[in-house]
């Protein structure tokens, strides 16, 4: 810590000398402490995307139904019937590494605010999670804490968690990934953008009092390499209050319904300085803020702390002065603190005062100061303590960081696990133990231990929840339903980032197709290592390219995303981990779509081509520790045909069960369906060019398993043929054993026990 003290202020705030020079150049003078603090946060990686912006423009973002694309609080799409859907995904990785419960809880709170700031009612959450190995006590502590935090906040605030992912891999040992996806629904005409239009309008701060929590959290935590127990960089932990947030949701939606607000903006990273300047910048207006008007939780808070605090559960509403009384009355009814902290100007500048508003009679009044503080003296003439061009805070530096393919990449890709495993498991080898081993690996094992801790049913929309390929929510008073899935396999991206990026999109879209939906939007959360490492920037650019190619091929617009850099375990950057969240629309839901299940007596039909692709598979990498090679091929045209075929088979209800092949391969997909349907299988898995082991455990893309009533089998295979998709009847559902001729023979009860007990037994001692 000592040497940090001697550092100049801008460096202690995480700014480079060049960035300071740019500020001085912008202002034509040395910045004040407050100004420097605001720039340091607003120009941080987390707020400014300075390292990633150059690449993100690659994503396709257009479609006729897109109402709001990237750049706003959330992306919004039109789903007809006068309704729109808002979605967003965000990471809260570093806070969760420091304090798992509060880190995850405040992550949930933050993303929910993004959704209702658009005028949408948040109705669903999903939580893609990544942890180290569960053998490690610290990891169990983080896993337990993160899940309790999501449960504790999400359940209480009243937004159901309808799906997610949990992946365990050593690459996340010191740096768990906590991503949260949120979906909201709104009458299209209620859509609002956070703009501070109209000089003379007032900015009302709603919600919690401002404390010292998370000062510099965004810039310091998410924008600098962070090691476990790094006290110097650890900001005070933010504590979430779901009860405050629940009241904020209701109050803000009422405000917008009653047309009492021009716009509402959440306070997130960089707190009030970011929210107030952004709303003004978007409208090309200016904003004056008076710190004396901000209700403070602790005595002795200075202007810097007040403007950059990341205290949770706060919103900024832009209102016309005539509506102030009505707004305050509404806030009182919901027991929400509301103070006028700003006024919109036509100066195009962001100015901060202390005590001006009472003096010059801006409507409203200073809140009670916390015990221990004096009331702020009136002053109408003292100059602002910050005065900067409003848009300059928003347009931070743009970096074109060096990009370099890792020298180790060729060797990594050359280490194909195929030959070794072919020797070890020749045709005829008994794979029963291998299947059981896969079913017990925590990444594949049953996640009920997690999902039962989440309310996944509130609002009576959840037609398919945890356990389904995609969560399906009915849209009340319409024939429609929404399908959503989040996916992203880092090991594939580590081996070949462009293919890995494609595969992340394909898996999420495939899961959505299995519910009979057509994909209408994608949001992504890009979790990467240190962007100052050229290898990381190469991985980043390749993943973005791969995801973009897949989105173009499938016709899915990207309507939002989030980038989290500086994720590392000790000195090692994490594997590149993009998470793709795909939203699908079902026009005519009808009855419940088929689940990932089998029905006794049905034929089992495999759609798509199984290939001997073991690179990056759970079997090769986790069970046998062979984590090199190339990921499965990601043929985009093939994917599109398979998705369309599966979606239409599901819509016609020509199948009684459907499940895609992902982690663990075809054998695990079959086992999952059998366990769900509580029925055995009798199959033969012969695929050209594959040993039985490869047919069982390769994670080939664009393969889907169906349970089909024998009377429909011919028709289903006919449709597949017509679409040019290989279809093979591999066997039937029945009995109480999982039998694949010449491959495995396992009692259903043993498989179920292995799969169901894996995580609970690892956690029972936690």
């Amino acid at each position: 810590m000592a040497e940090a003290i001697d550092e100049p202020l801008h460096r202690r705030l995480g700014m480079t000398d060049a960035e300071l020079a740019a500020v001085i150049d912008e202002l034509g003078r040395e910045p004040t402490h407050l100004e420097l603090a605001m720039y340091s946060v607003m120009w941080s990686e987390h707020c400014s995307y300075k390292s990633s912006r150059a690449f993100l423009s690659r994503f396709p973002t257009e479609a006729p139904w897109v109402l709001v694309g990237p750049g706003e609080g959330a992306g919004v799409v039109d789903i007809g019937d006068g309704l729109a859907v808002a979605v967003r995904i965000e990471s809260h990785n570093h806070p969760s590494a420091v304090e798992p419960y509060q880190g995850a809880a405040t992550g949930v709170g933050g993303i929910i605010r993004d959704i209702f700031s658009m005028g949408a009612r948040p109705i669903a959450l999903m939580d893609p999670l990544r942890f180290g190995s569960l053998d490690d006590a610290r990891t169990r502590y983080l896993f337990e804490g993160v899940v309790s935090g999501i449960s504790g906040y999400g359940n209480s605030v009243g937004v159901p968690t309808v799906g997610g992912e949990v992946v365990f891999d050593d690459t996340y040992r010191g740096n768990p990934l906590v991503n949260v996806f949120c979906l909201g629904i709104l009458p299209t005409e209620r859509l609002v953008l956070a703009r501070a239009d109209g000089p003379g309008n007032l900015a009302v701060l709603l919600g919690s009092a401002t404390g010292r929590d998370g000062i510099g959290g965004a810039s310091v935590l998410a924008s600098a390499s962070f090691e476990e127990g790094d006290e110097a960089k650890r900001p005070s932990v933010q504590v979430g209050d779901p009860f405050e947030e629940k009241r904020l949701i209701e109050a803000c939606l009422e405000l917008l319904d009653a047309k009492l607000a021009v716009g509402v903006q959440d306070l997130g990273a960089a707190g009030l300085s970011c929210a107030a300047s952004e709303t003004a910048a978007k409208a090309g207006a200016g904003m004056d803020v008076d710190v004396a008007r901000v209700a403070k939780r602790e005595p002795g808070m200075n202007a810097v702390e007040t403007l950059t605090s990341e205290s949770q559960e706060r919103m900024l509403a832009i209102i016309e002065p005539a509506n102030l009384d009505a707004v305050l009355a509404l806030a009182r009814r919901w027991e929400i603190r509301a103070t006028v902290v700003g006024r919109v100007t036509d100066t195009a500048r962001f100015r901060v005062y202390d005590g001006l508003f009472d003096a010059v009679g801006v409507p409203g009044e200073n809140p009670q100061p916390p015990i221990g503080d004096e009331r702020t003296a009136l002053n109408s003439d003292t100059p602002p303590i910050a005065d900067v061009p409003v848009e300059s805070l928003g347009d931070g530096p743009l970096y074109h960081r060096p990009v370099a393919r890792p020298a180790s990449q060729d060797a990594l890709q050359a280490a194909d696990p195929g030959p070794q495993l072919r020797d070890k498991f020749p045709a005829g080898a008994d794979l029963s133990g291998e299947l059981l081993a896969l079913l017990t690996t925590p990444t594949i094992a049953d996640k009920t231990w997690v999902s039962r801790q989440y309310d996944h049913q509130l609002f009576l929309n959840t037609v398919a929840g945890p356990g389904a390929d995609a969560a399906v929510l009915r849209v009340k008073d319409t024939t429609k339903a929404l399908a959503m899935s989040t996916d992203g396999k880092a090991r594939f991206c580590h081996l070949e980032p462009r293919t890995g990026g494609r595969l992340a999109v394909l898996e999420a879209a495939r899961n959505v197709a299995c519910s009979g939906a057509r994909p209408i939007a994608l949001v992504n959360c890009l979790n990467f290592g240190n962007p100052e490492h050229p290898e990381v920037m190469w991985q980043f650019s390749e993943v973005v390219e791969g995801m973009s190619e897949a989105c173009e091929a499938l016709g899915i617009p990207v309507i939002g995303g989030n980038v989290s850099f500086y994720n590392a375990s000790g000195a090692d950057d994490i594997h590149p981990t993009p998470v793709a969240g795909v939203l699908g629309l079902i026009d005519e839901l009808g009855d419940r779509p088929p689940a990932a299940t089998l029905r006794a007596g049905d034929d089992i039909v495999v759609l798509g081509a199984i290939r001997p692709e073991l690179g990056g598979s759970e079997w090769a990498a986790v069970v046998h520790g062979l984590d090199g090679g190339m990921p499965p091929e990601a043929d985009l045209d093939r994917a599109r045909t398979v998705h369309e075929l599966v979606a239409s088979l599901v819509r016609e209800r020509s199948v009684t069960g459907v499940h895609d092949v992902s982690d663990g391969g075809l054998a695990v997909a079959l086992a999952e369906m059998a366990m769900h349907g509580e029925v055995g299988i009798k199959v033969e898995l012969n695929f050209d060019g594959c040993t039985p082991a490869e047919a069982c455990f390769a994670e080939a893309a664009s393969v889907v398993v169906c349970s089909v009533d024998p009377k429909d089998t011919a028709a289903v295979c006919g449709e597949a043929a017509a679409a040019g998709v290989p279809a093979r009847v591999v066997g039937v559902a029945g009995g109480d054993r999982l039998i694949a001729k010449g491959a495995f023979d396992v009692a259903l009860t043993d498989a179920t026990r292995a799969w169901r007990d894996a995580i609970p037994s690892l956690m029972s001692g936690a």
């Binding site: 420091v98 304090e99 419960y101 509060q102 919690s208 404390g211 010292r212 929590d213 005070s236 932990v237 933010q238 504590v239 979430g240 209050d241 009860f243 405050e244 939780r297 602790e298 205290s311 949770q312 027991e335 015990i371």
Partner: protein, 82 residues
């Protein structure tokens, strides 16, 4: 080995928000208590521990607090051994 009673009181670190305390404080005036402030809600753990002497009992309970009973990142704790 002698047994000791340990009484642990866990409170929020200064500056850490206490939503429960704040909510109770907001509720009290409606019940007619307008003269109450600074409500903070914490946790107590009472337990019995075998140890050679009071000091090692305290040392052990202190370790339990660090590892399980309290969350040092956001909580402070006080131990009384008797």
């Amino acid at each position: 080995m002698p047994v000791f009673n340990a009484h642990v009181e866990v409170t929020h670190l200064p500056g850490i928000a206490d939503p429960a305390g704040a909510t109770v404080e907001r509720a009290l005036p409606a019940l007619g208590y307008t003269n109450v402030a600074q409500v903070h809600i914490g946790k107590t753990i009472n337990l019995v521990v075998d140890a050679p002497d009071a000091d090692s009992a305290r040392a052990q309970v202190n370790e339990m607090c660090e590892r399980l009973l309290a969350n040092p990142v956001i909580e402070a704790y006080e131990i009384v051994i008797s």
